[in-house]
């Protein structure tokens, strides 16, 4: 008889579902079945059980083949690479626990590194906008219980956050929303006819890259000013109609995603979307929430925020924290040849960065810490596999609405595997030893040698 672990947190997307039930074998070593999760979440749990999983660090050889090395050797290589570099980039952090992030930041501070998380190619532009104009926001629980107008702007939760609609935004019956989806108006704005768009009460299929103009038009409509006949490919009657629905909401919310954060204008699109929300609060209660991607990218921003004051792209190279997206962001550092070593943990820039940046990573001394084999581990000099956070080890994670949720351990990792926290703690201690050996402030002996 297999036993069932209940109330498991899903470590996949920012929705951070907390109602998973997982059947494990009697000896507690294998996951047999995953209930309540979406297809992506279930696959994350089941993939941890695959037979061909890498369980020991691998060093890439001259000919491109891999040689298995011990964790001790991996720790030594990583610590030396970071200590020898003048400006190491420490990227990722979004698919690990807050505890691991915090230790990673200690290392970055010791070696004068730059800490950047996946927000840099995701919701970093939202964070810039929030810094510029603030954010009127709320939690997903409030939306479940109160929201009667829900706007999805440039995001497609049907595919990217599959359980978002059923757990929080459209279908659930809450305290003041007893009719479920029948009592909610759904507005979707997207250039594509996505599966989310097909469900919408009001679908605004705008011209690609004209979100800023359409959001500005909504603000003009709220103020009863005259609009041009067509804005962003949408007739003004439709814009006035959408504006009326939003103004007459009892409790409204805007969810926005990559469609606005990474298309033309970036932070300006979010900036004006926040201003739309602010304007709507003259008429009713309205909130705005970013559809964060990785399950703990919000946590990375929170930990960086309380430790250094900035949510991503934090440059510690001169001993104090500096931040300027466009200068200290991972892609700009790589594009401008401004870093001399790359450490990646809990992300896959090899798959998500422009190929020009990926080529730069391949040329630099690099370490990738990741349970999976990914494009990043394939181009890195050293691949350190670790236990899955949220599957084989617990840890704190932040949901997309900034609610911290403690993830749970379900099964043991394979024999002898380290967790993120253990590996980073050992690297931190080794870095401290190496720094103590070299006189403080002396220029480093040489450029870091590639292994």
């Amino acid at each position: 008889m297999a036993k069932t672990v209940t109330d498991v947190i899903c470590p996949f997307c920012g929705t951070l579902c907390d109602d998973l039930e997982i059947q494990v074998s009697d000896d507690g070593t294998r996951i047999l079945e995953v209930y309540n999760a979406c297809a992506i979440g279930a696959e994350k749990f089941l993939h941890s059980q695959s037979k061909d999983r890498v369980t020991r660090p691998r060093m890439q050889q001259e000919d491109g083949s891999y040689k298995e090395v011990s964790y001790d050797e991996a720790i030594e290589y990583t610590a030396r690479m970071l200590v020898n570099a003048k400006k190491p980039l420490m990227y990722g952090w979004s698919s690990t626990s807050c505890e691991a992030q915090s230790i990673g930041h200690e290392i970055a501070e010791a070696v004068g590194g730059i800490v950047d998380n996946t927000a840099t190619v995701c919701h970093g532009s939202s964070l810039i906008a929030i810094q510029d104009v603030g954010i009127p926001s709320c939690t997903l629980g409030e939306i479940k219980n109160r929201a009667d107008v829900v706007v999805f702007w440039g995001c497609n939760p049907s595919h990217a956050h599959p359980r978002h609609l059923s757990r929080y935004s459209i279908f659930p019956r809450g305290f003041f929303t007893g009719k479920g989806h029948k009592g909610r108006k759904m507005i979707v704005v997207d250039p594509r006819n996505t599966d989310t768009m097909k469900m919408a009460d009001v679908g605004l299929q705008l011209e690609q890259g004209r979100d800023y103009e359409l959001l500005s038009a909504l603000r003009v409509a709220f103020r009863d000013e005259e609009l041009p006949d067509v804005v962003a490919g949408i007739r003004k009657e439709k814009i006035y109609e959408a504006a009326e629905i939003m103004k007459n909401a009892r409790f409204g919310v805007i969810f926005f995603g990559m469609g606005v954060t990474q298309s033309l204008g970036k932070n300006h699109n979010i900036d004006i979307a926040i201003m739309v929300t602010k304007d709507l609060n003259e008429f009713t209660k309205f909130s705005i929430i970013a559809m964060r991607g990785h399950y703990n990218v919000t946590g990375s921003g929170a930990v960086l925020g309380w430790q250094f004051g900035y949510p991503f792209a934090t440059d510690l190279s001169r001993g104090f924290a500096r931040y300027n997206p466009g200068e200290t962001t991972a892609n700009d550092l790589l594009r401008r040849d401004e870093c001399d070593a790359v450490f990646v943990l809990g992300s896959d820039p090899g798959a998500h960065f422009p190929i020009s940046s990926v080529k730069k990573i391949a040329r630099l001394p690099s370490v990738a810490v990741d349970p999976h084999i990914t494009p990043t581990t394939e181009i890195s000099k050293l691949h350190v596999p670790v236990a899955f956070v949220g599957v084989e080890v617990g840890g704190c994670c932040y949901r997309m609405d900034n609610v911290p949720i403690e993830s749970r351990k379900v099964v043991d990792p394979p024999e002898g595997m380290m967790t993120d926290t253990e590996f980073l703690t050992r690297v931190r201690d080794r870095v401290a030893e190496l720094k103590a050996q070299a006189p403080v402030g002396a220029p480093s002996a040489a450029e870091p040698q590639e292994a």
């Binding site: 103009e213 038009a217 709220f222 300006h268 040849d337």
Partner: protein
Amino acid sequence: METVTLTLKTTPTLMLEAEAISPDGLAGKTPDQIRALPVYMGRETYTLGEYFDVSGSPGSTAAETKVVVKGDLSRVKYLGSKMSAGEMVIEGNADMYVGAWMSGGRLTVKGSVDDFAGTGMKGGELLIEGNAGNYLGSAYRGDWRGMQGGLIRVKGNAGSDTGYFMNGGTIIVEGNVDVHVGTHAEGGTIVIKGNAKSRLGGQMVEGTIILLGTVDVMMPGFKYVGDEEVDVDGQKFLMSAYIGDLGERHRKRKGATIYGRLLIRKPAPADIAASREARLARAREAKKARFIAPEETASA
């Protein structure tokens, strides 16, 4: 005015941060003291003398000092930042933060500059003979006070986000600009002699944007209010005046609402005919390309 000349010896491998190089940073120092000033690369600190040859000597105050910087400075940041007086000439390209937070004096760049030039500028004159990058004369991240005074003139093109959160001073771009000009502006004047793409004056509260070329997409919140003759950089033009951004907050003075102003040059009738002809020619070309393309793919 005394002149001190710095010549870059070797191109830095990573970017070099040299905020010491400005009339204020060098004034009153002997050449040896200048050579000992710190410059930064990553977490290492070097002396200015390791990267630059120093000749001449500065005056006793910033106002009496002229700094000339030579060599390929495209990997050197913060040149002339926070200068308050005197003169500085950069004889080549420079990297980020040229003349950032400057409050006086005259800074000339003979080449092009990267992003964030003239960030948070308060006064003085910044002349860029090449192109400028993004965020020219804009606010530092999170600050709602961008450029507050002074003059920036770019002979070439400028990138996106020119005059972000601007609330004073003048920016003149003689070439073209990318998207987002004068976003969130609460004052100041931006003159674009070339063409603009889109998002001109988005979320603009006050201030003036003058465009002599064309704009691809207008913001929906700007309303045409009539024509007027405007003096731009010494020349007079007939311009269409728009007010906006109608979606943004605006203060009132003596009962009248004050809007941001967007002035776009009215093309002469001959220009309208020529641009119509050019547009038709482009459309014909596009149609031809569409017609020819399938055959080519079929033969391939």
